[in-house]
């Protein structure tokens, strides 16, 4: 089936459109959204298998040949990320059945989630730089809806800032594409890569460095790297837990994926300035994120700052650009999407039970909710990379790559950061779950057991992903191979090159 790789984009798109017409029938919406999410997961699993056996899949839309039309490319990196996205969306949809109020569900919540999935899956799959911009906008448009849906004061206030930051970064994206188009005269990413390496043979002109930095600013704003993360803690604080989980798990990772894609495909020949810049920014991101994570006494804020730490660690692996570190980055990227979603859902349950996310007002939860406590404990261990859970292998490979290419400082900071991340997350555990139990108003009405389904699934995946890393490794290393050798990607897209 040649059209196979477009299905993870098409299924949520059709579902999203259909759900608009069923907006007031909550049960119907839940069923349709759940079923389509399950279907997407099944399709993406078979897509991963297909890529594993038959190599990179490409689809030229409307049969326009590769450099001229829009091409969808599904290599191992994007297939795996599409799979992870589908799983996370499924988990968040299941959680939303109980975890979000009916008013929001009636106001096109499930449609917006599905459109968000269209944008994210599309951004992972597309092989055309302008099409990437379009899918970014699809994703951002639905994220604007999701962040403001419900219309509480804090949501309205924070969504204005979120919207403004993203509008500016979109304009910068258009500008960067314009410059790139004037230099290479093409939009197909494989073709751009081929043209850029032709140009680089005659010596790297300054304009390519300018374009690279512009792309770094654009994707860095989305992915929240060091000087550009300022909007994230405020904006992500506002929406309810399942939306927060979707944002924390997916949106920043699209930015990180785009940096990985453009920097391994376009700007890999310039070993000097660009790579150094990325390394420095990645390490600074880790440091700032860790400081934020240990400074706050609010559960949501602590986990939000942990997003920034993870982005830094992944980007460090990408900037080092050895095969080992790239493998580690992809491993860690998938791990992090999964574990962040589960952590945010768990934090959402804690906030629902206690009615606050301030750590000073919470204690002794594990006495009344042992299941919640232990799931949180496993998720926390996985997050900070305790073997044999899922964070460990990725971080090990990133650090190994860092030491091999003599980035001792960076690798050391990644290593140190795990310890501090563990500290920050254990602070939640010690203060929130241990101690004397308190009585919380209205806690009995919260259906904790049924809300636990989604995070338990995600944590189980995290455990499997770590313990069964022998089984997962071939897929990841195939993905890293495409990133390390852009010629594989170029040959798969432009057949004659």
């Amino acid at each position: 089936m040649i059209n196979f790789l477009i299905l993870p984009i098409l299924i949520p798109l059709i579902t999203g459109v259909l759900l608009i017409f069923a907006a007031k029938h909550v049960m119907l919406q839940r069923w349709v959204a759940g079923l389509s999410a399950v279907l997407t997961v099944i399709v993406s699993v078979s897509l991963v298998q297909k890529v594993k056996t038959d190599g990179i899949q490409t689809l030229n839309l409307s049969n326009w040949d590769a450099p001229f039309g829009i091409t969808l490319v599904s290599d191992m990196v994007s297939a795996l990320l599409v799979l992870t996205t589908s799983v996370i969306v499924l988990a968040c949809v299941i959680y939303s059945f109980r975890g979000i109020d009916e008013n929001r569900e009636k106001f096109y919540y499930y449609s917006a989630v599905n459109f968000l999935m269209v944008g994210v899956n599309g951004a992972f799959t597309t092989g055309d730089i302008f099409n990437l911009f379009v899918f970014f906008e699809v994703m951002l448009m639905s994220s604007y809806v999701l962040i403001v849906i419900g219309g509480t004061k804090i949501q309205l206030r924070e969504s204005i800032k979120y919207l403004l930051v993203n509008v500016i970064s979109s304009a910068l994206f258009v500008i960067a594409v314009a410059y790139l188009y004037s230099v290479v005269g093409t939009l197909n990413m494989a073709h751009i890569s081929a043209r850029l390496s032709e140009i680089s043979e005659m010596g790297q002109p300054g304009i390519i460095t300018v374009i690279a930095v512009l792309f770094l600013i654009v994707f860095g704003l989305k992915g929240a790297i060091f000087p550009l993360f300022f909007w994230l803690p405020g904006s992500y604080y506002a929406p309810p837990a399942p939306v927060l989980a979707l944002f924390g798990a997916l949106l920043t990772k699209v930015g990180v994926y785009s940096i990985a894609r453009t920097y391994t495909l376009f700007f890999y020949e310039d070993g000097g300035f660009i790579q150094q810049l990325l390394t420095i920014l990645a390490v600074t991101t880790i440091i700032i994120g860790v400081i934020g994570a240990i400074a706050y006494w609010d559960i949501k804020k602590i986990v939000i700052y942990n997003i920034i730490v993870a982005v830094g660690a992944i980007l460090f692996g990408i900037s080092v650009m050895t095969p080992d570190s790239l493998t580690g980055s992809i491993f860690y990227l998938i791990h992090d999407m999964n574990i962040k979603a589960s952590l945010f859902l768990l934090v959402g349950i804690v906030a629902a039970i206690t009615g606050t996310s301030n750590l000073r007002k919470i204690s002794g939860l594990i006495k009344r909710y042992p299941g919640l406590g232990w799931t949180f404990f496993i998720a926390a261990l996985a997050l900070s990379g305790i073997p044999p859970l899922s964070g460990f292998v990725g971080k090990l490979l990133i650090i190994k790559g860092g030491f091999e290419s003599e980035h001792y400082w960076g690798a050391g900071i990644v290593l140190m950061s795990s310890l501090l991340v563990l500290f920050s997350i254990m602070k939640i555990f010690i203060n929130g779950f241990w101690g004397t139990p308190r009585a919380y108003e209205g806690a009995d009405k919260i259906p904790v057991k049924s809300m636990m389904t989604a995070p338990v699934i995600l944590v189980a995946i995290a455990v499997f992903y770590g313990v069964g890393s022998e089984f997962v490794y071939p897929y990841i290393s195939q993905a890293a191979e495409t990133l390390a050798n852009p010629s594989i990607y170029i040959e798969a897209v432009l057949k004659e090159y």
Binding site: F130, F133, V134, E137, M141, Y144, V148, G151, K153, I154, L156, R157, E158, S159, I160, K161, L163, L164, V167, I168, S170, A171, L172, V174, I175, V177, A178, Y179, Y181, S182, L187, G234, Y237, Y296, W297, D298, K300, K301, S357, N358
Partner: protein, 112 residues
């Protein structure tokens, strides 16, 4: 011609930046609209300005690159959509929060 266009784009970016740095929400929205217009003109300029030819490859004679127009069309539609959303959001926020001054829209939840 390209030089003139570049100057126009520069002026648009300049005014957009000025407007976006102000406190009033409405001026900020106008600023983002102008910023996206500048970006669209930049695509057109960067694609190379040509006139008097059809966008048909294969015929003898010169041809024009149709791609920048296609890109701008897409980008304009997106910018319109976002601006419309932004205006509605600003109005709703004004109703709910009672101010359109960005200085008064600061928040410190969870920052203790």
């Amino acid at each position: 011609m390209e030089i003139l266009m570049s100057v126009v784009v520069g002026i648009l970016f300049m005014s957009a930046t000025y407007l976006m740095l102000s406190k009033s929400l409405l001026r900020i929205i106008v600023g983002t609209a102008i910023l996206s217009h500048g970006a669209h003109l930049l695509i057109l300029t960067m694609g190379g300005l040509k006139k008097g030819a059809a966008p048909l490859l294969g015929e003898s004679g010169p041809y024009t690159d149709p791609l920048p127009q296609a890109l701008i069309l897409t980008a304009i539609v997106i910018a319109f959509g976002v601006t419309a959303f932004f205006l509605v959001l600003a109005y709703r926020a004004y109703q709910e929060l009672g101010t359109d001054n960005m200085d008064k829209l600061r928040g410190t939840e969870g920052n203790d």
